[in-house]
């Protein structure tokens, strides 16, 4: 059921021009990330120092980096890192946030207070700060980044779900269901969560864009995926020191981050429009 609810708006989002463009770009990035080994003749990790700093040319379309590795190959494999880290961390965050938020919003009382206090505490820090602290504790790397990003956005989804549940909870049809003897679990699963799903999914989609930036930021500080695994942020970071010598090293990964994040946001905007849930998002 929820699938039908989601797919319908996706179709109408794709019907708009910016939605279609953004959707196309995202689909391309996903396909490229999945098919990475088939798309490029180069390995992302084999260094060839004498070939370092080659500008874009026929053999290396986007040039080579400071280790003589093909930049396009690195960006393609970097898409894997960026997408997997951001999608997995946001998915886990959405799931955990919905469970926490639904429980807090539905049952209220002490549980609600406890969840709200913890969530508000992390909410009061910028996401990057929460993520940096967590990476410092867990240690750098892909797993650390995923956990850090997931926790950093948890507050947002918990609050959103809780607010949705609280508004729907007192509707007459819920009261009716309860008077007919429906259990808490049934009411949550059948009536409350499906109704709260739309806004949370949109928020999750938009947060994925932010998560890509956050992953790039952690990578920029050297705290994300560890070399030789490519990450757009880490590539930009090493390129920043070589801005004058080899500007392509920072330029192309930067473009990849920018276009992907803009595409996610445009697509999210189109979805919001299609779902007509702007007011509900704003309320939350």
């Amino acid at each position: 059921m929820s699938l039908r609810r989601t797919l319908g708006p996706v179709r109408s989002a794709l019907a708009t021009r910016k939605g279609a463009l953004a959707g196309l770009w995202l689909a391309l990035v996903v396909v490229v990330a999945v098919l990475a080994p088939l798309l490029t003749p180069y390995a992302y990790d084999i260094q060839s120092l004498p070939d370092a700093f080659r500008p874009p040319a026929a053999t290396h379309w986007l040039g080579t980096d400071e280790f003589g590795r093909d930049l396009l190959t690195r960006i393609i494999y970097g898409a894997r890192t960026s997408l997997s880290v951001s999608v997995v961390s946001i998915a886990v965050s959405v799931l955990a946030g919905m469970i926490l938020g639904a429980a807090a919003g539905y049952f209220g009382g002490r549980l609600d207070q406890a969840v709200t206090v913890v969530v508000d505490l992390t909410w009061s820090f910028p996401e990057i700060l929460v993520a940096l602290i967590l990476v410092a504790i867990i240690g750098p790397g892909v797993t650390g980044t995923m956990v850090a990003i997931g926790v950093a956005y948890l507050a947002q989804f918990t609050r959103l779900t809780r607010a949705q549940i609280m508004t729907i909870r007192s509707e007459t049809y819920i009261e009716a269901a309860r008077s007919l003897g429906a259990s808490d679990g049934f009411i949550l699963a059948r009536h409350l969560l499906p109704n709260a799903l739309g806004p949370v999914l949109i928020a999750g989609m938009l947060a994925t864009g932010d998560a890509i930036i956050l992953e790039a930021t952690l990578g920029f500080f050297g705290l994300g995926a560890q070399p030789p695994l490519p990450s757009w942020g880490a590539m930009m970071s090493s390129g920043s020191g070589l801005l004058f010598k080899a500007p392509w090293i920072i330029l192309f990964p930067g473009l990849a981050v920018a276009t992907t994040v803009i595409a996610i946001n445009l697509f999210g905007d189109a979805l919001i429009h299609a779902l007509d849930i702007k007011t509900r998002l704003r309320e939350a």
């Binding site: 410092a136 030789p228 010598k245």
Partner: protein, 524 residues
């Protein structure tokens, strides 16, 4: 999200406006500190763990050291060492006054040396039993044992002479709002992590003979700015926002040479890049594996490709300018992949199909630590690839440069890539002394024979020649145990705006110090 883009555009234009603030006219200059000198907490030389260039502007030393490592008078006009090395007499220059007007006397020196015993660097005065004030201008250092390295210690930036009473009175506030030395410049203001402003000491008349200028400095005011990013510093220099960079990464050398208004100059380096190997962690408890890892490092490839051929390869732990670096050439460590592979085979690590060696089903996989500065990250990736070439799978972990020392203290590291900056053989004692495990002894090296040689080198040398001999033996033995792999020795490159600054023909001292700064002037 578009609102966010707008904010960052706004932020960018604000910082662009900040870039356009022009340096004030007159004898005023702005220098950018070297990136490895960024972030000192105060200007208290007694408590400092690191110093920066501005220390030597505020504080003079008793003895000055030149680029050729020779010693020259400074606050001490002359000195005599007793034939048995058990005492040194320093004759102070008359008329020297601190920034607060107090005269420099032998009693002040005695008090300062006692204060220095609380320092992190107290080892520098360990050999000194006490300082006696023979008269106002004669200080006698009575020694516990001969210390031929005393002159070096007294010329180091940590041993700039402060007013010890000012430090005691001000406590933790000392060196932040106020710092009292005898140097050619006085501290006007210090903003942590950003800038230090110094003004000329108009009473200054006790310059070292190494300085050409006599009397007060030519510059009236110097601003030292701290910039963590080399690219920002380069842009500032190019646009005229600053007048000089005290260190230039090799990646920028060609661009600086191409700028008609900029001049580049180099002095011999004092830095060594190396890879500590933790001898207490598997698989590096086996000396064969340590030697193999050390021999896998291709120093020449790194010099040519990472550092553009500027500087020199390192084959042991010390900079080549030091006589103690001349150990038996057969002990020097240089790239030998065939031998590295043979050693690993011998040690039982067999090459697997995936290019990673394994022993008893366990892969040869190790942790390689590095710090977040871009040059270390880049160098570490090359080291990783070079280790992989002999079948060692090194997994990089990047730590923030400011916290990595604390990480080392726990002793969990296996391999790391780092550098040190020092021009005395006692650095071997600092990084491999058995009582400093974790940090500075990142290699966790604690070997009875090394400790014996160390003790002899640190305390048992009566003359400089003997000290060189003892330290050479200590350095050679440590190297033969492979607790590290040497990588690279940079040269120090500096750049300045030649339309603005007049620099001395030759840099005296082992880096740009107050001795040189009194000769710098602005073109008018």
């Amino acid at each position: 999200m578009f609102a966010r883009i707008r904010t960052s555009i706004l932020a960018a234009s604000v910082s662009a406006a900040a870039l356009m603030t022009l340096p004030a006219a007159g004898q005023e200059a702005t220098f950018v500190l070297s990136t490895n000198e960024v972030g000192i907490p105060n200007y208290n030389p007694v408590m400092a763990v690191n110093t920066n260039t501005a220390f030597s502007m505020i504080y003079d030393t008793l003895v000055a050291q030149d680029a050729d490592l020779s010693f020259h008078p400074f606050l001490a006009e002359s000195w005599d060492e007793a034939p048995d090395g058990m005492s040194w007499v320093f004759h102070l220059k008359p008329g020297v006054k601190f920034h607060n007007g107090k005269p420099l006397t032998a009693a002040v020196i005695a008090k300062w040396i006692e204060l220095f015993r609380k320092s992190e660097n107290s080892y520098m005065v360990d050999a000194v039993d006490r300082v006696e004030a023979v008269d106002d201008l004669t200080a006698k250092f009575v020694m516990k044992h001969p210390e031929p390295n005393l002159l070096f210690n007294l010329s180091s930036s940590f041993m700039g002479v402060p007013d010890p009473d000012a430090i005691t009175e001000m406590g933790d506030n000392y060196g932040i709002s106020e710092a009292v030395g005898t140097g050619p410049f006085k501290l006007e203001s210090f903003t942590l992590g950003q800038e230090t402003v110094l003004v000329r000491n108009d009473d200054y008349a006790w310059e070292s003979p190494l300085s050409a200028n006599k009397g007060p400095a030519k510059l009236e005011r110097i601003t030292f700015r701290e910039m963590a990013e080399d690219s920002t510093a380069f842009l500032e220099l190019k646009s005229g926002g600053v007048d000089a960079l005290l260190s230039v990464p090799t990646d920028y050398i060609d661009q600086i040479k191409a700028e008609p208004t900029l001049a580049l100059f180099s002095i011999p380096g004092q830095e060594v890049y190396y890879m500590p190997i933790n001898v207490t962690r598997e698989p590096f408890t086996d000396i064969k594996v340590r030697q193999a890892a050390a021999l896998a490092i291709n120093q020449k490839e790194i010099l040519e490709n990472v550092f553009g051929g500027h500087g020199a390869v390192a084959n042991n732990f010390l900079i080549s300018a030091l006589p103690e670096s001349k150990i038996d050439p057969s002990l020097d460590i240089s790239y030998d992949p065939a031998k590295a592979n043979a050693l690993l085979d011998e040690a039982g690590w067999k090459m697997g199909a995936d290019g990673v060696r394994a022993k008893d089903g366990k892969p040869l996989s190790v942790a390689l630590w590095t710090q977040s500065d871009s040059i270390f990250r880049r160098l570490t990736e090359v080291v990783q690839a070079q280790l992989k070439a002999v079948g060692i799978d090194a997994k990089i972990t990047t730590f923030d440069s400011s916290t990595i020392r604390d990480q080392y203290k726990a002793g969990e590291q296996q391999l790391a890539v780092r550098s040190y900056f020092w021009n005395n053989a006692d650095i071997v004692d600092w990084f491999f002394g058995g009582d400093r495990l974790g940090y500075p002894n990142i290699s966790m090296f604690n070997d009875p024979k090394a400790e014996e040689l160390r003790d002899k080198a640190m305390k048992g040398s009566k003359t400089q020649d003997e000290r060189v001999q003892n330290f050479t033996a200590y350095h050679a033995y440590v190297t033969s145990q492979f607790p590290y792999a040497p990588i690279y020795q940079p040269e120090q490159n500096m750049a300045y705006n030649k339309d603005r600054l007049v620099m001395p023909d030759r840099i005296h001292g082992t880096s740009v110090t107050g001795v040189d700064m009194v000769d710098v002037s602005v073109k008018e």
